[in-house]
């Protein structure tokens, strides 16, 4: 049965989308069948990272949640991204993206109506079964809105991303506590955008101590990520980059679940 992994951060711009896309790509490269759902309906962006043009998709998670389509209709095969750099993907591997709608009307509608736990949960399970997925990564909206809580509820693993920034500390603490109340089976913390001159290990230890949680990775702020300007998946573009190695370590931890 597919493992559902929610990728969450209390604040926007923390690096959820980038981290999720990289992890999904690396897991697929490792031979897994992976789905990635952009449930951050307020700021849809993962399709950009996968170079899925806006006119290339007309169905989205939003459509599914509004009952306008079946979830598998909104799942776009992105395996081609894996072959971009000539790295032969494992034959059985797969990468499917369920994008979020960029149409303002759809966004507003989902935002005000909210969505049902069962609807999201059933949809994800159905998609996992349809595509025979091993992992389903769900990128949640920031904050602790109903959508996020639903996402956490149905997750096997919750990855909480924070920056070493006071904006993120308190909110992350609340998220961690709430997730524990929801008895999420595994909670991992990822620290992103850490100034490279910091001792990354010490940062990881400080965060682990503070939240009494496992830190799955500490990712430095990287000029190369900024340089890529969301023009692709970093780990595919720079397979030998130290940051990619760090993404790979996190992916390995997820796949060990």
């Amino acid at each position: 049965m597919a493992k559902i992994v929610s990728i969450h951060s209390f604040h926007g711009g923390t690096g959820k989308s980038n981290t999720a896309a990289n992890l999904a790509a690396l897991m697929a490269l490792a031979g897994k069948r992976v789905g990635i759902v952009d449930a951050d309906v307020q700021s849809p962006d993962i399709h950009v990272l996968f170079n899925l043009e806006e006119d290339e998709f007309d169905k989205s998670i939003t459509d599914y949640l509004c009952g306008k389509c079946a979830i598998e209709e909104a799942a776009y095969d992105c395996s081609r991204a894996l072959q971009l750099d000539g790295e032969a993907a494992v034959a059985s591997a797969g990468l499917y993206l369920v994008p979020s709608s960029i149409r303002a009307g759809d966004i507003a509608r989902v935002l005000c109506e909210g969505y049902d736990v069962n609807l999201l949960s059933d949809g994800l399970r159905h998609l996992a079964r349809c595509q025979n997925l091993d992992y389903l990564l769900v990128v949640t909206p920031p904050g602790l809105s109903g959508e996020t809580l639903v996402s956490i509820t149905i997750s096997d693993v919750l990855v909480v991303i924070l920056r070493p920034d006071r904006q993120d500390y308190q909110g992350t603490a609340v998220t961690v506590d709430v997730a524990r109340k929801l008895e999420v089976p595994r909670l991992l913390v990822v620290v992103n955008k850490v100034l490279p001159r910091y001792d990354l290990k010490a940062v990881g230890q400080a965060v682990a101590r503070t939240y009494d949680a496992e830190v799955a990775g500490v990712l430095p702020l990287s000029e190369d990520v900024i340089g890529l300007a969301s023009g692709g998946i970093f780990a595919l573009r720079y397979p030998d980059h130290p940051l990619t190695q760090r993404y790979r370590d996190i992916a390995a931890k997820l796949m060990a679940v």
């Binding site: 109903g146 809580l149 509820t153 609340v174 929801l182 400080a206 503070t210």
Partner: protein
């Protein structure tokens, strides 16, 4: 202790240099020695030839060559003298010290009536000689020829040069090695010390200025290097501590009461309670 690499290099260089020096000085002194010995031998031979010429006038005029033989034999005993022979006014060899017979190359040798002449001759089977011809009675009664052995000279030169050159080479190399050792020690020791300190910094050990205290006082380039290095190490360490402090400043502060309130706001809603219920159900279903 392993020989420092620097010392090995310097020693190799010194060895090449000294061998070159000793070879050139040997060649020059050999050449000088050859000249000096030649002069000495030649004048010795000329004196001998003149003596014999003076002494043999009488006997030659009396055509009593046999008495000359013993005198010649005695002369040939002198060190460096290879042969002596006398040619009479008709060009006949009347007495000689060759055993058993006079070689052809020697027969044709002539002299000068006015003066004693010296010329180099090569005699097959006997070797190289300086043939010194002294006229007897201005050549009226013939000539005395004395052959000085060049081979003896060459051997003397060789043994003299070889012995001293070798001795000089050994002494020079020993002195140079000792000197180089002292100089290199004074250079490599401090460098090794700096290397040690640098490695300990690399490992992240704290920087102890005492480790370079003596060296930093040295009033030469090494002392300067040690001082610069020490300053650098202190700065690097200071920056490191600053960074560490920054990371420590990263100590994440969380307002616990505020957090409890924020968590409660979420978790105490009915919606949340139903989610919790849902989560429980789902997990039991999956198990």
């Amino acid at each position: 202790m392993r020989m420092p690499k620097l010392l090995q290099k310097v020693l190799a260089g010194v060895l090449v240099l000294f061998v070159a020096v000793v070879v050139t000085t040997s060649v020059i002194s050999g050449w000088n020695l050859d000249r000096l010995l030649r002069e000495q031998y030649d004048s010795k031979g000329a004196a001998l030839a003149n003596d014999i010429a003076a002494a043999s006038v009488e006997t030659l005029l009396n055509r009593d060559a046999s008495t000359l033989q013993s005198a010649l034999d005695q002369s040939a005993e002198i060190q460096g003298v290879s042969y002596v022979f006398i040619v009479d006014d008709r060009g006949q060899i009347v007495a000689h010290t060759f055993v058993p017979s006079v070689p052809e190359a020697v027969r044709s040798l002539s002299g000068n009536r006015a003066t004693t002449t010296i010329r180099d001759v090569h005699v097959d089977g006997l070797g190289d000689f300086a043939d010194i011809a002294a006229p007897i009675l201005g050549g009226e009664a013939g000539y005395v020829h004395v052959g000085m052995d060049r081979a003896i000279m060459a051997n003397q030169i060789k043994s003299a040069i070889a012995g001293t050159s070798l001795a000089i080479l050994v002494v020079m190399i020993a002195l140079a090695a000792a000197g180089a050792m002292v100089v290199i020690r004074t250079v490599t020791r401090p460098i090794l010390r700096l290397t040690d300190v640098a490695q300990s910094l690399e490992r992240g050990d704290p920087y102890r200025p005492e480790a370079l205290a003596g060296l930093s006082k040295q009033k030469d380039e090494l002392g300067q290097l040690a001082r610069v290095f020490g300053d650098m190490a202190a700065q690097v360490k200071a920056r490191e501590t600053r960074l560490k402090q920054q990371v420590e400043e990263l100590r994440i502060e969380i307002d616990q009461t505020k957090k409890a309130k924020q968590v409660a706001e979420i978790t105490e809603s009915d919606y949340f309670k139903s989610l919790r219920q849902k989560a429980k159900e789902m997990r039991t279903v999956r198990e």
